[in-house]
């Protein structure tokens, strides 16, 4: 196969590139080559259940009375991970971090994997509940009664078996 790319083209494009990252590809896992023929579904509905994960972790942490540092120590994860989870809407933590948090919070790790963006959410009802919870959660220091009610309701949903 013959490819002809002029010097002019290369240099013009290089100068237009600026200081950019160019990486593309799976972040955490190498794809199984045998799966390359499977069509992936693009989900863009405007609802993002992953938005619930950060507020949920923060509210659970506050409910059990831990600082960010204390939660990090208890879960044996980096403090920066907890900060990123709580502050960055689309931050997807590593699966190990999610499993450790699920152990500290005594919740099913499968549900937290889904909420954190590490696994698909196929349960439409759960997805809707997650978005609803994200909309209700706030950022004040002490849990309000409504925050307490919201988190207890959501914890009950997390503990339900997937239908």
């Amino acid at each position: 196969m013959k490819i002809e790319i002029t010097r002019e083209w290369c240099i013009n494009m290089a100068q237009m590139e600026g200081d950019v990252e160019v990486g593309a590809g799976l972040l955490a896992l190498d794809p199984d080559v045998a799966d390359t023929a499977v069509e992936a579904n693009v989900v863009e509905t405007g609802e993002d259940p992953q938005l619930a994960f950060g507020p949920f972790v923060q509210l659970m942490r506050r409910q059990i009375g831990l600082s960010v540092e204390e939660l990090a120590n208890k879960a044996d994860v980096d403090m920066s991970d907890i900060i990123n989870i709580e502050k960055r809407h689309h931050y997807t933590p590593e699966p190990r971090t999610v499993v450790r948090l699920s152990q500290v919070f005594e919740l099913p790790s499968k549900r937290l994997m889904q909420l954190s963006g590490n696994a698909d959410i196929r349960d439409r009802h759960f997805k809707e509940e997650a978005v609803r919870f994200a909309a209700k959660s706030g950022s004040i220091e002490r849990l309000t009664n409504s925050e307490r009610k919201a988190i207890n309701t959501f914890v009950a949903i997390l503990n339900k078996d997937e239908t």
Partner: protein, 210 residues
């Protein structure tokens, strides 16, 4: 054994001008050794500096854990997974692994074959996040161009697709002019970008305008 190779140029930041380079139509043991013996130490050094500066881990290079030797071994011998690499001054500057069995998702292109970029990565010393100033520029654009040229050779009109690492979203949307089809729940919520035949023509023309 001779390799298919195309002459190209990279922009040298220190020399403020072009340097001769080569676009090889494969990735061999030679490039994997470059990755192992040069890329990895440079990556480690760059990340050490980020750590010392207190940069959040989320802002570290997102492909730092990639293992090109593993990637290469998984696709060895597969005709549906061609690769390209860029070399200059005896060193690998960028690598790309492609996939020829995926289909387009853009509304007017749905179901038509395209060249899918499984992985693309720049050498650590070319990445401004890790090394200031970067050594060479243009690696990303040339590798994307290579994917387009392969798509044209396959009679797929330049259609390409990829899942961008979050830090590279702007490169694919603004620099390459690709369409952002949103987060893909089956690909770790990475954003899926696609280039139509018209967008491929525009990308090529962009570099021809002085």
């Amino acid at each position: 054994m001779s390799r298919d190779v195309s002459p190209i140029s990279l922009y040298s930041v220190s020399e403020n001008g072009p340097v001769d380079a080569e676009l090889f139509h494969d990735i061999t043991e030679e490039e994997l050794m470059d990755w192992q013996t040069s890329w990895l130490p440079s990556l480690a050094e760059g990340m050490q500096k980020l750590k010392q500066k207190g940069v959040l881990r989320a802002d570290w290079p997102e492909s730092a854990h990639w293992n090109w030797r593993d990637k290469a071994s998984k696709i060895e011998g597969l005709l549906a997974c061609p690769c390209f690499c860029i070399k200059t001054q005896g060193m690998t500057q960028g690598m790309i692994q492609l996939n020829l069995v995926k289909s387009a998702r853009l509304p007017q292109q749905t179901g038509r074959p395209l060249v899918f970029i499984d992985y693309i990565e720049n050498a650590p010393w070319n990445r401004p996040k890790l090394h200031t100033p970067p050594r060479f520029k243009g690696v990303g654009s040339i590798l994307v161009r290579a994917a387009i040229e392969l798509s044209i050779a396959e009679e797929w009109d330049g259609r390409i697709g990829l899942h961008s690492l979050p830090q590279a979203n702007n490169f694919y949307s603004s620099d390459c002019g690709m369409t952002d089809l949103g987060k893909d729940a089956d690909y770790e919520n990475l954003r899926y970008f696609e280039m139509s035949p018209d967008q491929a023509k525009a990308f090529v023309m962009k570099g021809n305008q002085s």
